[in-house]
């Protein structure tokens, strides 16, 4: 251990002390209309000192810590999957089995877990949509939630003003979201990547501000409530049919009324939508357009010199991503029965982005995996809910530093020359 290590450690500890002591150690508090400063409790100071000690020791023994980290075997998720050859024959059966399990599963578990699964499926849908834009085409979209909001509000408004059904609104929502994506994308997609990020972020804010202030149409911050639930060929899932003469689901099938039918039905719709989205994206990825997305992400100049129209390609990715978000939004509005601009804030975009990044940009398996983690983990750790966003941010930084390719990196067929 040399002196520069000690110097580094003391320096890092000093910096951590400066960072911690004013923000955690001192708290602003309004003390009978006068702003006062309060010191932290002894427990908080203990935490601060503990944290500084950790920083100090980890810097002091950084070589040993690094060695320790390197000693931990990296989880090789690819190795856990069956071999490529075997997998190809097994794949259709595996997929069929997963679908069957997903269909049967909700009938055996509690209502709460089915509801949570539905939410997870919404995030999977959103993650897959953003994956087209960020993962495949390499365009950083920070206002993805705007398209989600467009989809949700389209259904809510059409259902409220024109009494249109969920099934009719589903394509309209997706179409309108895609139109918004097209209109926004058309001018800005010529821009460089980081400009695009900020413009989409601004667009997300604009949509939220408009929803918040256009009170006569959207109800402003109060949102829209009483949005109709989806029906099964006109059969409602309520205790009594809304319209005279119409039948409800349980009357038609002569069953006792149970509120869990509605939850399970919503879950099944979500499963159906997710399967459709996965299928479509999988096909698209194998089409020339999908190849072009990835090629453009890898090298824009090479693509242009090969005669690919970059605006059209980027626009198609952007529009398709937006329409997926529109789908998810429409379903979200139907599931909640109530929407307000509160559900469409920037943090929501960041969560979806975190799902894509965590799962591995471009990898569909990874995104499904990450969406499940991101929605179930907060439910399991409810007592830490206030730390949720903090850990989110930290996770994004840590992932970028140690595993930028994500948990399940995208795999594509490739040949490698083995070095002797």
């Amino acid at each position: 251990m040399n002196s520069s290590k000690l110097y580094n450690a003391v320096f890092a500890a000093g910096i951590s002390f400066i960072l911690a002591c004013l923000m955690i150690g001192v708290k602003l508090d309004t003390d009978s209309t006068v702003l006062a400063v309060k010191g932290a409790t002894a427990e908080q100071w203990a935490w601060i000192i503990g944290g500084i000690a950790v920083v100090f020791l980890s810097q002091l023994f950084s070589t040993q810590v690094d060695a320790l980290f390197r000693a931990i075997p990296k989880p090789d998720i690819q190795a856990l999957l069956p071999q490529q050859q075997k997998f190809a024959t097994l794949k259709p059966w595996l997929i069929a089995a997963i679908i069957v399990v997903m269909m049967i599963w909700p009938f055996m578990v509690s209502r709460g877990s089915v509801d949570l699964a539905t939410l997870t499926l919404i995030y999977i849908m959103l993650g897959l949509g953003l994956n087209i834009v960020v993962g495949l085409a390499g365009l950083l979209d920070l206002g993805f939630v705007a398209f989600y909001a467009v989809g949700a509000y389209t259904y809510a408004l059409l259902s409220q003003y024109f009494g249109m059904s969920f099934w009719a609104c589903l394509p309209i929502s997706a179409g309108l979201a895609a139109t918004f994506g097209f209109l926004l994308g058309f001018p800005v997609l010529r821009l460089r990547g980081d400009y695009l990020a900020i413009v989409t972020l601004g667009f997300g804010e604009i949509i939220r501000i408009l929803l918040n202030n256009w009170t006569s149409l959207t109800g402003g911050p109060n949102g829209i409530s009483g949005i109709a639930k989806p029906t099964l060929f006109g059969l409602e899932f309520n205790r009594r049919a809304k319209e005279e003469g119409a039948m409800t689901f349980h009357e038609y099938f002569d069953m006792d009324y149970s509120s869990s039918y509605k939850v399970i039905f919503l879950y099944l719709i979500a499963v159906l939508l997710v399967i459709c989205v996965i299928y479509l994206i999988n096909r698209l990825m194998r089409m020339p357009i999908g190849r072009a997305w990835e090629a453009l992400r890898e090298d824009e100049i090479a693509c242009r010199s090969l005669g690919l129209n970059r605006t059209a390609i980027k626009l198609s990715a952007f529009t398709l991503g937006a329409s997926t978000a529109g789908f998810a939004g429409c379903f979200f509005a139907a599931r909640q029965g109530f929407i307000s601009p509160e559900s469409f804030i920037f943090i929501e975009s960041a969560i979806i982005l975190a799902i894509v990044v965590l799962g591995g940009m471009g990898s569909q398996m990874g995104i499904i995996f990450a969406a499940i983690i991101m929605t179930i983990l907060p439910e399991l750790a409810r007592e830490f809910s206030e730390y949720r966003m903090l850990l989110f941010g930290l996770l994004m930084v840590v992932m970028m530093r140690w595993r930028p390719q994500g948990l399940v990196p995208m795999k594509r067929p490739n040949l490698e020359l083995k070095q002797q």
């Binding site: 004013l22 006068v34 800005v188 970028m400």
Partner: protein, 308 residues
């Protein structure tokens, strides 16, 4: 003068006040972008932390019974700049430096993560509610006929102008005259070449983060005192505005950031003069889109040539 033109004059003054603080934050974006070509997304949070530190110091000193306002303000300014710079330096060291040289999206995502982290760090440590500080600097000058329309220029606004002007001058002198400033300019010209010529580019990059954070802290102090309220979420929108200002003026150019900030501030003030003030954000982002469409390099920026 007529009532209308006096009203416009008042909005112009308000706009320039806000605009000059946007300019201070925008410089941080523009300097970092000019050198390493990344958007420091967490810069807005530094401004917010600067505001919080200012409030803590002022409330603490007032609580200890100190009465001399100038001394309190100077101490608050120095402490806020110091703490914010420490944050800026640490962010660069922890979240950006290890990622340098990788794909463009990766540091940007890391920066977004850092921004979310810092925001929630302040939410957890200071609470998410508004913290209000009673106005410290009151009074001002009034012009015009009180029966028609009175234009007011408060001492606070004058202070904002003066401090912004002094910091800009010092920054310009630093960049154009000092050795470190010359190294900064060299880095933004060609990072690799500068490194070859024996300049520690890591040090210079860290320095840009420190200078940017210090300027953001000055903006934090000024806007904190001007509005009298701060909450953990102010950094997000202010950062976005400042970035708009930086792009407006041409990202990478320091005079451009100042010009962009002033234009943005005035545009916002004029918008809120005629429309409900909620729409001023819509107008400023609309302005950003228009600028990027018709002049992607900004007002004073150099057009960027993509090299293979």
């Amino acid at each position: 003068m007529s009532e209308f033109s006096l009203y416009l004059l008042q909005q112009l003054i308000n706009g320039l006040t806000i605009g000059s603080t946007y300019a201070l934050i925008a410089i941080g974006y523009t300097m970092v972008y000019g050198i390493i070509g990344m958007i420091n997304f967490a810069h807005g949070e530094i401004y917010m932390i600067g505001s919080y530190v200012t409030f803590i110091v002022i409330a603490g000193l007032l609580g200890m019974g100190m009465v001399s306002l100038p001394i309190i303000l100077i101490i608050a300014l120095v402490v806020a700049m110091f703490i914010a710079s420490t944050y800026g330096w640490t962010i660069e060291r922890v979240a950006y430096r290890p990622l340098r040289g990788s794909n463009r999206l990766i540091p940007l995502i890391s920066a977004i993560g850092m921004s979310i982290f810092l925001q929630n760090f302040v939410v957890l440590s200071q609470g998410s509610r508004d913290v209000a500080l009673p106005p410290q600097i009151t009074g001002g000058w009034n012009f015009g006929d009180p029966s028609v329309f009175e234009v007011s220029l408060s001492y606070m606004q004058v202070l904002i102008f003066i401090i912004t002007f002094i910091s800009m001058t010092l920054l310009t002198l630093f960049i154009s005259r000092s050795r470190m400033g010359r190294a900064c300019r060299a880095c933004s010209e060609d990072l690799g070449m500068t490194n070859l010529l024996g300049i520690d580019t890591n040090k210079i990059i860290a320095l840009t983060f420190i200078v940017g954070a210090a300027l953001a802290a000055i903006a934090g102090l000024l806007l904190g005192l001007y509005y009298g309220v701060v909450n953990p979420f102010v950094g997000f929108i202010a950062g976005l505005k400042a970035f708009t200002a930086a792009v407006l003026g041409g990202i990478g150019s320091i005079p451009g950031a100042v010009l962009g900030g002033l234009i943005l501030g005035v545009t916002e003030a004029m918008t809120s003069a005629f429309f409900p003030s909620e729409y001023k954000d819509v107008v400023s982002f609309g302005l950003l889109v228009l600028i990027l469409l018709f002049r992607p390099s900004g007002l004073l920026g150099k057009p960027e040539v993509e090299k293979v």
